[in-house]
Symmetry: C2
Subunit: 654 residues, 2 copies
C-alpha cells in the first residue's frame, strides 16, 4: 500500500531538507582546501512538538567508517554543524535525524513541573528509555541510571526522583546515547573535493621562456635559470609558461598575427606540433627534457612550481593529423577548418574533433600526455580555451589525473559566458580566469565580488584575477599611466587569493596596443624578445612588497571572505577581509582614478572588530608603514596621485 | 573507462541545469489549476560556439506519448517555454537539448558570408545535413531540399546556392526537423499536480450548524437549510462546518473551555466520538445522514459546496479507544495522555498514536472515512491540526483519496512553524491557513505577500486568508471598531484568491475576548447560539458586494499575481493585480488605520498598463462607483474614517 520508500519506516516523522552546501542536487562536489572547517546546515524538523535530534555523517570516500559531527539548532528549524577537513581527497557527507523520544520525555517532565503538574506517571513512563540504554553506557552512567530507575518507581522518593529526572547529567547521558527510532537519513550523499592550499592561495607569474635570452637571441631553459631568481624575489610561487612544444611550420603566423611568417619568425607557441613532435615533445630551441627537468627542480628550490600550458589543438603539421586523421573533422575538399572565434581567426591551428567515434583513444591519449608531464614534475596546468572542449571530457580527465596525483591543479582559461565558466568549475577545474580584467568601476567591482564571494558559485568556482595576459592588454592600461598599473595590480593581489600577471611586460609598464584593440602591439606571442630582468621599477617594488604581505596576512589567503565596504565617493572602492579565526583583519581602500587624488569617507567594520571590547582601531598601513587611530565607523581618506592610490590597513584593537 | 552515464553518449556536449520550477530536486509536484499556461525555464548550453536547440517534453502521467513544446533563448544561456494545462490530474515534464549541427552549419555560412569569405566548401559540406532529412519532410519541402542539394554541388550556381543556403525557408525546414545527434535529456522528470479552479479561487464561510436554530434551541441540518440562502446571498461558495460527529461525554468541556461541563453543555465538536459512534457517524441532534445529504444537495443548488472538518483525534469515549487500543499510546497507569499544545490543554481529546505498529490498519481506516464522506457528496475537507500527524501519512492519504476523486480539496489548519506549513503543502494539501491573521502593519504585510507570491513556495503553497476563526479573535478586532473589520475583511478578500471567515460572528462585529487572550468570550465552541441571520449590517453589505466583484474581476482570482506598490504613508498599503491575459488591472489601496483618515501618495503601475499606448488611467472604484483620471505615477489619496478605508480601482486606459 505504501508510497513510503522501502528503507524508511512508515512511522518516520522526520524531515531533512535544503541541505547546504549542495550543488545541483549533489551532482557535483563542493570544493575546499585542507585544514578548513566545513559548515553544513539543513532544515530538520518533525510534525508536532517533539524533541528532534540530528547529526552530520561524514568520511573520506575511501574510508569505511562514518564519523559523526553534532548538529545544533540555529533558528526556525534550521540546524548547523561542522567538521574539519584534515586531509586531501574526496569526502562525503549526509545528515541523519530522528525524533528523540527519551529527550522528549525529559523535556515533557520539565514542562509539566513548570506547569505545577504531578509527574508520577511520567516518571514511571521514563523507566523504559533508561532501561534500554543501560547496557550501552559506562559503569558510572549505569549506576546513575539504575539509581534513577529505582527512584522513579518509588512513590515515596518523588522529590528525589524529579531531581534525577530533570538533571543535567541525565540529559547528557540521554543525548549521548540516542536510540534513533525510525531515524531518517537524507536521501543524498554529498561530496567535497579537498585540495591542497595552493588551490585557493597562489601567485602566478607568466613569461615566455624564449624571451629569457639576451640581445634578441632565442631564450631557452638554461637562460630561464637566470630569470628564476627575479621571479622568486618578487615573491611568486607559480611560474607559468606558454606551450613549450614544437611549433608548427605550416601556416605559421608572422609578427603581429600576420598570416604569413617571414623567415626566422618563431610562430605562436599555441600552434602546437610539427615534424619534431606533438604535445609530449619539447621545442628544440628551448632545450631538451633534461634541461626542462633541471629548470623544474631549480624552481622548486626557490619555492616556485612550474605550470605548463595544456592547449588541446594542433598545428597543421602536428603528428596527430597524419596518425589520427579521425580526430579531426574533414571537409568535402579534404581540408580541416582552422580554429575560429569570430572575428578572431587562427589559421595556424586546427581544432580537435571531440565528437569523433574514436573518442576513447583520443581521451586516453590526452590523459597519457597529462600524466607524462606530471611524471616529469609538473603539478599545475593552465588549460587553454577549455570551453571549446566537452564538459564531460574535462570531468573525466581531471578526475582520472587527480587519482594519480591529488596535488594536480588545473586553471581554466575560459573567457566566455558565465554559465560555461561555472560549468567548467563544476567539472573539476581548480581555478578559473575571470572577468576581473574588465571590471573597473566601483559598481562593477562590487557586483562582481559579491557574486564571486557570496553566491552559490563560491562552493565550486575559485577565481584567479589577472590584470593582463598575452591576449589582453586592457584599455585601462593602454595609456601607460603608472598609477593605473598600481591600481589594477593592487586590486588583483588583494581581492583574490589566486592572482597572476603576465610579465615582465606588466612590471615594465609595457602598454602599447594594436590600435583600437585590447591586444599588445608587437606581441611576444609572435616574436622573441629580450628583457633587462634586473631593472627594478617602482611597480616591481610594490609587487615584491605585496607578495610578501600576502604570505604573512592570513586574511589575504582567501577570496570568499571579501566584503565590500560603503564609501562616499564612487572613485573610492573599499573592502574588508578577515581570517577564519578572526585574528587578522584587513581593510583595503583603493582609488579607481589613476589621474588625481580622491577623497571621501569609508564605512569601517569597527563594530565587528570591537564586538568583544576595545575603544578604537589602530590602522597600520602595511605598504607605507604609516599608522592611524580610528574611533568612528565612517573615516576620511585621501588617496591617489601624487601619493599611492591605496591603503592596505591591518586593523587591531586599541 | 567512462564516468559518463550509460544512456548519454560520451560525445554529448549539451548541459541542462537549473530547470524551474523544480521543488526539492523533483521530490514534490508543482501545483497549478486547469487552463493555466505552464512556464518552464532552464540553463541550456554546450561548450564552444555551436548552435544549440532544446524542447520541453510533457504529458499527462497516464498518457504514453510525450508532447513537445518549444524552448526559446531568453538571455545568458537561459531558455524558456510553456504549454497549456488543459485538464485535471498529474502532468510530467522534462527538457531535452542537443547541438543542432544543421542549424550550426547554416549559421556558419551566414557568418562567413558577412566576413566576405567564399563558402563553396561549406555548401558541399551542407549537403549531408539536407540529405538525411529528405525522407522525413513533405513533398514541397523535399523538392526544395533537392533543389538546394543540386545547387550546392554545382560551382556555376554559386550565387543561387548561397541564397538557398541562407534562406529563411531552409532555416525553418532544418529547425522543424532536428536530428538531435548526441541529444541529452535532463536527468529528472518533474511533476505538476493540476487541480480544479476552486483550489486557487474560493470564498469560505464557516458557521456552527448547531447555532442555526432559534431562541437558543439546538440547530440541525434542517434549520441549516434556512441559513443557506443568507450564505449564498453573501456570495460564498464553500460552507465549512466544524465536526458534525457525535461529541464525547467523558471529560466534556463546559462553557468557556471549563474542565467540567454542566448538565446540558453541548461540548466541543472537536471532541469526536461517543457511544453513538466515531468519525463516520453524525451527531444525532444535528440529524441523520439523509438530512445531511439533503443539505449538501440544497447547498449545491445554491452554488455552495459543504466542507467537512477532518479532525484526527478522539474523545475518551470514541469507539476506537476500545476497538483499537493499539492506536493510542498508553501510559504505565493505564491512561492515555490527553492532547496538549502548551499552554493549551485539551482534556476532552486523546491524540492518535501514529507510531503504532498497527499503522497500516490505522491509515486504511482513515482513508476509508474520507472516501465514505466523499461518497456522500463531500469534496472539501478542512483538516484540523494536520501538523501533529506525520507528513508521510498525509502524502499517502491525499494521493490515495484524490485517485478516487481528483476534485477533492484539503485545507490545512496548521498555524505552526513556517517550514512545517510548507512541508504540509508539499505533501499535497491544496490550501493552507496562514499568518495573515497576525500581519497588520504595512511592513509585515509587504514582507508576507512577497514571500507568498514571489518566493519558491508559490509553486506549492496556496494560502487561504482568514481574518478570524473560532480559535482566533485577533487583538486588532477586539475593540469592535467597525473600520477594523472592514480593513481586515478587505485585505483577506483582495490579497488572497482563497479566503474565509467565521460567521456570523464576523459580520455581526462580535468582538469580546477572554481578557488578555486572542479567544472569543462565550465561544460557540462550547455552547449553542442563536442568531438573527436576516440582520443586514454594513459589513455584510460590503461582503456581498466584494464577493460579487471577485467573481467578475479575473485579477482577484489569483494570489501569485499580487505586487505591492510603494506609498508615502506607512498607514497606507497598496497592491496591484492583473490577470494572465493583462486585460484586467486592479489597484487596491487600504488604510491600515481604523481610527482616522490617512492621506498619502501611491506609486501606480501606470507605465505597465500604458506600455502599448494611452495617455492616462481611468480609475473606477468598484466599491463606491466613483471615477478618477490619473496621469501620473504618484497619486494622492485620502481614505479612512469617516469614509471607507480603501479603494478598489479597476484601471483602464484613457
Amino acid at each position: 500500500m505504501a508510497t513510503i520508500a522501502s528503507n524508511i519506516p512508515a512511522q518516520s516523522r522526520i524531515i531533512i531538507e535544503d541541505v547546504q552546501p549542495e550543488i545541483d542536487s549533489g551532482k557535483f562536489p563542493v570544493k575546499r582546501i585542507t585544514g578548513e572547517n566545513f559548515n553544513v546546515s539543513c532544515d530538520l524538523f518533525a510534525d508536532g512538538h517533539d524533541v528532534v535530534s540530528g547529526r552530520i555523517l561524514y568520511k573520506k570516500v575511501s574510508a569505511k567508517k562514518w564519523l559523526e559531527a553534532p548538529l545544533n539548532p540555529v533558528i526556525n528549524d534550521r540546524w548547523q554543524g561542522s567538521f574539519e577537513l584534515s586531509s586531501r581527497g574526496e569526502y562525503e557527507y549526509t545528515i541523519e535525524g530522528w525524533v528523540d523520544y527519551a529527550l522528549n520525555w525529559q523535556h515533557g517532565i520539565e514542562r509539566k513541573i513548570k506547569d505545577n503538574q504531578h509527574v508520577n506517571v511520567e516518571l514511571l513512563d521514563g523507566i523504559q528509555y533508561l532501561e534500554r540504554i543501560l547496557k550501552e553506557v559506562n559503569k558510572d552512567d549505569k549506576d546513575f541510571l539504575t539509581n534513577c530507575i529505582e527512584n522513579f518507581s518509588d512513590e515515596e522518593k518523588y522529590s528525589v526522583a524529579v531531581d534525577y529526572a530533570t538533571s543535567e547529567r541525565l540529559h547528557i547521558i540521554l543525548h549521548k546515547n540516542p536510540k534513533k527510532d525510525f531515524k531518517l537519513t537524507y536521501e543524498r550523499t554529498l561530496k567535497i573535493l579537498v585540495e591542497r592550499q595552493k588551490a585557493l592561495f597562489s601567485s602566478w607569474y607568466e613569461f615566455f621562456p624564449r624571451s629569457s635570452g639576451k640581445n634578441g637571441e632565442h631564450g631557452n631553459f638554461k637562460t630561464c635559470l637566470e630569470v628564476l631568481p627575479h621571479v622568486a624575489k618578487m615573491g611568486f610561487d607559480v611560474l607559468y609558461f606558454p606551450p613549450i612544444h614544437p611549433i608548427g611550420e605550416k601556416h605559421r603566423k608572422g609578427k603581429n598575427n600576420s598570416v604569413t611568417a617571414n623567415e626566422g619568425d618563431p610562430g605562436s607557441p599555441w600552434a602546437i606540433g610539427s615534424k619534431d613532435g606533438g604535445h609530449d615533445a619539447i621545442h628544440s630551441e628551448l632545450g631538451d627534457l633534461k634541461d626542462f627537468k633541471k629548470l623544474i627542480d631549480s624552481a622548486n628550490d626557490l619555492g616556485i612550481e612550474i605550470a605548463m600550458d595544456l592547449a588541446l589543438q594542433c598545428a597543421p603539421d602536428h603528428p596527430w593529423v597524419k596518425e589520427h586523421p579521425e580526430w579531426f573533422k574533414w571537409r568535402p575538399d579534404g581540408s580541416v577548418q582552422y580554429a575560429e572565434n569570430p572575428p578572431k581567426k587562427y589559421q595556424d591551428i586546427l581544432p580537435i574533433y571531440f565528437e569523433t567515434e574514436d573518442w576513447k583513444n583520443l581521451w586516453n591519449e590526452i590523459l597519457r600526455i597529462v600524466l607524462y608531464w606530471n611524471k616529469q614534475g609538473i603539478k599545475i596546468f593552465r588549460v587553454d580555451n577549455p570551453h571549446t572542449k566537452p564538459f564531460r571530457f574535462w570531468e573525466w580527465l581531471i578526475k582520472e589525473a587527480q587519482k594519480k596525483d591529488p596535488d594536480l591543479i588545473f586553471l581554466a582559461e575560459a573567457f566566455t559566458r558565465p554559465k560555461i565558466m561555472h560549468e567548467l568549475a563544476k567539472c573539476g577545474f581548480t581555478q578559473s580566469y575571470t572577468y576581473f580584467t574588465w571590471r573597473n568601476s566601483k559598481h562593477e567591482l562590487t557586483e562582481y565580488i559579491n557574486e564571486i564571494a557570496h553566491s552559490t558559485s563560491r562552493e565550486f568556482f575559485r577565481p584567479n584575477f589577472w590584470p593582463n595576459t598575452p591576449d589582453i592588454n586592457p584599455y585601462f592600461l593602454q595609456d601607460g599611466n603608472e598609477w593605473a598599473f598600481y591600481i589594477r595590480y593592487f586590486l588583483a593581489a588583494t581581492l583574490s587569493s589566486n592572482y597572476g600577471m603576465y610579465g615582465p611586460v606588466f612590471e615594465f609598464i609595457v602598454h602599447k596596443p594594436i590600435f583600437g584593440k585590447e591586444e599588445y602591439l608587437d606581441s611576444e606571442k609572435y616574436e622573441v624578445k629580450s628583457w633587462d630582468w634586473s631593472n627594478m621599477t617602482n611597480l616591481k617594488r610594490l609587487i615584491t612588497q605585496l607578495n610578501g604581505i600576502r604570505k604573512h596576512e592570513k586574511a589575504l589567503q582567501d577570496t570568499f571572505n571579501c566584503r565590500v565596504c560603503d564609501t562616499t565617493n564612487d572613485q573610492i572602492f573599499a573592502y574588508y577581509k578577515s581570517d577564519a579565526e578572526a585574528n587578522n583583519h584587513l581593510l583595503m581602500i583603493v582609488s579607481l582614478d589613476p589621474y588625481q587624488m580622491q577623497a571621501g569617507r569609508v564605512k569601517t567594520p569597527i563594530g565587528e572588530i570591537l564586538q568583544n571590547g576595545g575603544y578604537g582601531l589602530q590602522m597600520q598601513d602595511l605598504i607605507t608603514g604609516q599608522s592611524f587611530q580610528w574611533y568612528d565607523e565612517w573615516n576620511y581618506v585621501e588617496i591617489g596621485q601624487p601619493k599611492l592610490p591605496f591603503h592596505l590597513f591591518r586593523m587591531t584593537k586599541l
